[in-house]
C-alpha cells in the first residue's frame, strides 16, 4: 500500500479539488488483449489496444481523446473506470493508483469517476424505469433510503438534465435518443462525481440533438465543476468542448496539447492529416485548402509497425522512423509534446482566401 501512504487521506479523495489541480494522472497505461490459439488455447499474440499512454486531467477541465475507430480511445476510458483491467501502467486518482486497487476499494472510488456511454439504446436497461436507472447508483452506495431522500434526488437530477421528473416512471424505450443520453448523464451525475469519462456521448445522435447534449454537458461542467475525459472522433465537437486534446493513433498518443495548439499548430503528421479532413463550412473556401490524403489502412494492432507506428502511412517517413520509437516530448517549447522525429508546425486548418 505504498501508493496510498503518499496519497491524500480518504477525506481528501472525496473532497472536491480546486479547479485546475490535477485529479487524474495516467502513466504508461497499457492494455493488451491476448490472442489465444492452438489446441491448448495458449497465448499466441496480443492486440496492443493501448500502449504506453500517459496524460493527466485537471479538475474542471475537459480533455479530449481523439483518433480513428480502433485506436484505443474507448479502451483507455474503460481502463480508467476499471471496466477493463490494464495490462500495465498506473492510473492515479488524486495520488491513489486505481490499477492496483482491490475491487472493494475500487468500488468506493467509483462514485468519483463515472462513465457515460455512446449508444443511447444499449446503455439503459430496457426492463427498469428511468427512476430506478438514475437511482441505482444511489441505492448501491446506500444513499437512497431514509434521510437521503433518494426519490427527491432522482427528481432533482432529472430536472438538472432537462427532463421532466414526472416521466420517471416511464421505460427507456419511451424516450428519444437525445433524452436517453440525458438519462445517461443523470445516472453518471447521481453520485456527484468529480470526473466523468464521456465515451463518444454524442456520436450516435442527430446533429441538432448533439448540440443540445453538448451544451448540457458544458453547462453541467460549469455548474458542478466536473472534469471530463471526452472520447470522440468528431473533431468539431472536440474543438467546441475541450480544453486540451490528445490525439491517438494505433494505441499511442501521438500529440497532446491545448485545443489551440492542436488545432492551430499541429506538429504531428497524423494530426495534420486528421485536421485536413475536417469539412469546411464555407462553400466559397471549398477546395482552396490543401488536403492531406493518407495512403493505405491502419495496420493491425496485433502486429504494429516497428519504431513509429504511423510510419507506414506517413509521407515523411525515413529510416530512423522504422528503428527508433519517437518519444512524446515537447519539441518546440510550446508545452505541446509530439511523437514524431520530423515534427514541424503546419497550419492545415488555415485557409488562404486568395
Amino acid at each position: 500500500m505504498s501508493t496510498t501512504a503518499t496519497a491524500a487521506s480518504e477525506q481528501d479523495l472525496h473532497a472536491r479539488s480546486p479547479l485546475g489541480t490535477e485529479i487524474l494522472r495516467v502513466e504508461s497505461l497499457t492494455k493488451h488483449f491476448p490472442i489465444r490459439g492452438g489446441l491448448f488455447r495458449r497465448q499466441v499474440g496480443a492486440v496492443q489496444a493501448v500502449d504506453d499512454v500517459s496524460f493527466a486531467v485537471r479538475a474542471g477541465e475537459t480533455v479530449g481523446l481523439v483518433g480513428e475507430s480502433g485506436c484505443g480511445k474507448s479502451t483507455t476510458g474503460r481502463c480508467i473506470v476499471r471496466l477493463l483491467d490494464p495490462t500495465d501502467g498506473q492510473i492515479y486518482f488524486k495520488g491513489v493508483d486505481l490499477a492496483g486497487l482491490t475491487s472493494r476499494r475500487m468500488r468506493e472510488l467509483r462514485r468519483e469517476i463515472q462513465i457515460m456511454f455512446q449508444d443511447p439504446y444499449a446503455s439503459l436497461n430496457p426492463r427498469i424505469s428511468v427512476n430506478e436507472i438514475i437511482g441505482e447508483p444511489l441505492r448501491i452506495f446506500g444513499r437512497y433510503r431514509g434521510e437521503h431522500k433518494g426519490k427527491e434526488r432522482v427528481a432533482e437530477l432529472m430536472r438538472l438534465v432537462g427532463l421532466n421528473p414526472e416521466h420517471g416512471n416511464r421505460f427507456p424505450h419511451e424516450f428519444s435518443g437525445g433524452q436517453r443520453q440525458r438519462i445517461g448523464v443523470a445516472r453518471a451525475l447521481a453520485l456527484d462525481p468529480q470526473l466523468i469519462i464521456l465515451d463518444e456521448p454524442v456520436s450516435a445522435l442527430d446533429v441538432s440533438i448533439q448540440a443540445q447534449v453538448i451544451n448540457l454537458l458544458d453547462e453541467l461542467q460549469e455548474r458542478l465543476g466536473l472534469a471530463y475525459l471526452f472520447i470522440a472522433h468528431d473533431l468539431s465537437v472536440v474543438r467546441h468542448l475541450c480544453d486540451r486534446v490528445a490525439v491517438m493513433y494505433l494505441g499511442k498518443i501521438v500529440e497532446f496539447g491545448t485545443k489551440h495548439e492542436i488545432f492551430d499548430n499541429p506538429t504531428h503528421p497524423y494530426t495534420q492529416a486528421l485536421l485536413s479532413a475536417v469539412p469546411i463550412t464555407d462553400p466559397r473556401m471549398r477546395g482552396k485548402r490543401e488536403r492531406i490524403m493518407l495512403e493505405g489502412d491502419v495496420p493491425s494492432p496485433s502486429n504494429p509497425p516497428s519504431g513509429c507506428r504511423f510510419r507506414t502511412r506517413c509521407w515523411k517517413a525515413e529510416e530512423i522512423c522504422a528503428t527508433e520509437v519517437p518519444e512524446l516530448t515537447d519539441r518546440f517549447g510550446h508545452g505541446h509534446p509530439s511523437a514524431c522525429h520530423f515534427a514541424e508546425p503546419r497550419a492545415v486548418l488555415r485557409v488562404d482566401p486568395s
Binding site: R110, R127, H167, E219, S236, T281
Partner: protein, 331 residues
C-alpha cells in the same frame, strides 16, 4: 487552463454543428416541453405504470393465453381437489358396471374400465399425479438450468468450461434409456422421485440458453454502466441480466412443463412411472391400449386431457413472453 478558459469556448463560431444559441437551464426546460409528445403540466396526474401493471394489461388482452390460463386453473383446481370432487375413489371397483361407455348415469362421465372403476375419477387423479410431477420438474429444472447457465455465462473462464462440459455430458445421455434405468433403480414409486429424476435431465437446454443470453448481455453497455456504478456481481445478475433473460426462461419453462407431462406419460406407458395403484395419465393410456378398439374412451379421455393441458401451457407461455417484453407495443 486559465488562458483558454470558458470565455473562449465558443469562439470558433460556425465551425461546429453544436453552435446553436447558448442553451440555458430554462431553455432546456422549454425545449423538453416541445420534445415530449404529451404534456402533463396542466396538473393531470399521470398514472404510474409499474412493470407489473404493464404486464398484466398486456397479458389480459392476450385472449388465447387468458383462455388457456382459465382452462389450466380449472383443471388444476379439479386435480388438486380430486378427493373432494371425484364421484368415486380411483380404486373403487364396481364389477357390475364394468365396460360402461361415457354416460351421465351414475356420473360416469368418462365411462368405466374393465373392473368397473369410474374413469372420470381415475383421469382426475391421474391428472393430479401428472401435474404434480410436471410442476416439480419445471420449477426444479428451471432453477438448476438458470443457475448453471447464469454462472457459466457471467463468470466465463474455467467456471464456464466445467459447467458446460457437465451440461454436454447430460445432453449426450440417451434420455429415455437413462430414465428407464433410473426409474428402475430408484423410481417405481412416489411422483416426487420421478420428478427429481426428470429434473436432473431437463435442465440442460435451459442452461445453454441462459448462458448464451448472459454472454451477450454482459457486454451490453447498461451492464457495464452498472458495474461502473459499483454494482456487485449479484446485483448485476439479478437486477440487470436475469430480467432480460426472462423471455427465454419462461418459454423454456412452459416447454419443459409440457414435455415433462409427456415424458412422465411415456415412462408410465412403458411401466416405469408412478406406482400402479396411483393413476397417472400415461399409465391410463397404456392400460387402455389393449382394449382401445372396443372401448375408445379408455384412450381418448386421458389422451385428450394430456394434449389439451400441454397445449394450454404453451399458449400461456406465449402470452407470458409477450407480456413480459416491455418494448413490445400493445396492439
Amino acid at each position: 487552463m486559465t488562458d483558454q478558459g470558458r470565455p473562449t469556448r465558443r469562439e470558433h463560431g460556425l465551425q461546429t454543428p453544436a453552435d446553436f444559441p447558448p442553451t440555458h437551464a430554462s431553455d432546456v426546460h422549454d425545449e423538453r416541453e416541445v420534445l415530449l409528445d404529451d404534456d402533463y403540466s396542466d396538473g393531470a396526474q399521470i398514472e404510474a405504470r409499474s412493470q407489473w401493471q404493464l404486464f398484466r394489461r398486456k397479458f389480459l388482452r392476450h385472449k388465447l393465453a387468458m383462455g388457456s390460463l382459465v382452462f389450466l386453473v380449472i383443471i388444476g383446481i379439479g386435480a388438486f381437489f380430486a378427493e373432494q370432487l371425484a364421484p368415486y375413489g380411483y380404486e373403487e371397483i364396481d364389477v357390475l358396471r364394468a365396460n360402461t361407455a361415457p354416460t351421465f348415469e351414475g356420473l360416469h362421465f368418462f365411462g368405466t374400465d374393465q373392473l368397473g372403476r369410474d374413469y372420470f375419477s381415475r383421469v382426475l387423479y391421474g391428472t393430479r399425479t401428472s401435474l404434480q410431477v410436471a410442476v416439480v420438474v419445471a420449477l426444479l429444472s428451471t432453477a438448476i438450468g438458470t443457475a448453471v447457465g447464469a454462472a457459466a455465462g457471467f463468470y466465463r473462464g474455467w467456471v464456464d468450461s466445467v459447467l458446460m462440459r457437465l451440461t454436454d455430458l447430460v445432453l449426450i445421455l440417451p434420455g429415455l434409456a437413462v430414465l428407464l434405468v433410473a426409474a428402475a433403480l430408484f423410481g417405481q414409486g412416489s411422483p416426487l422421485r420421478i420428478a427429481l429424476i426428470l429434473a436432473l435431465l431437463f435442465w440442460v437446454s435451459l442452461a445453454r440458453v441462459v448462458r448464451g443470453v448472459f454472454l451477450s448481455l454482459r457486454e451490453m453497455e447498461y451492464v457495464q454502466a452498472a458495474r461502473a456504478s459499483g454494482a456487485s456481481d449479484l446485483r448485476i445478475m439479478f437486477r440487470h441480466m436475469l430480467p432480460n433473460t426472462i423471455g427465454p426462461i419462461i418459454v423454456n419453462l412452459t416447454l419443459v412443463l409440457a414435455s415433462a407431462i409427456l415424458v412422465e406419460a411415456t415412462l408410465a406407458f412403458l411401466g416405469f412411472g408412478v406406482n400402479p395403484p396411483i393413476p397417472a395419465l400415461g399409465r391410463l393410456i397404456s392400460d387402455g391400449r389393449s382394449s382401445m378398439q372396443s372401448m375408445w374412451w379408455l384412450i381418448i379421455m386421458p389422451g385428450v386431457t394430456l394434449v389439451s393441458i400441454a397445449l394450454a401451457i404453451n399458449f400461456v407461455g406465449d402470452g407470458l413472453r409477450d407480456g413480459l417484453d416491455p418494448t413490445q407495443q400493445e396492439t
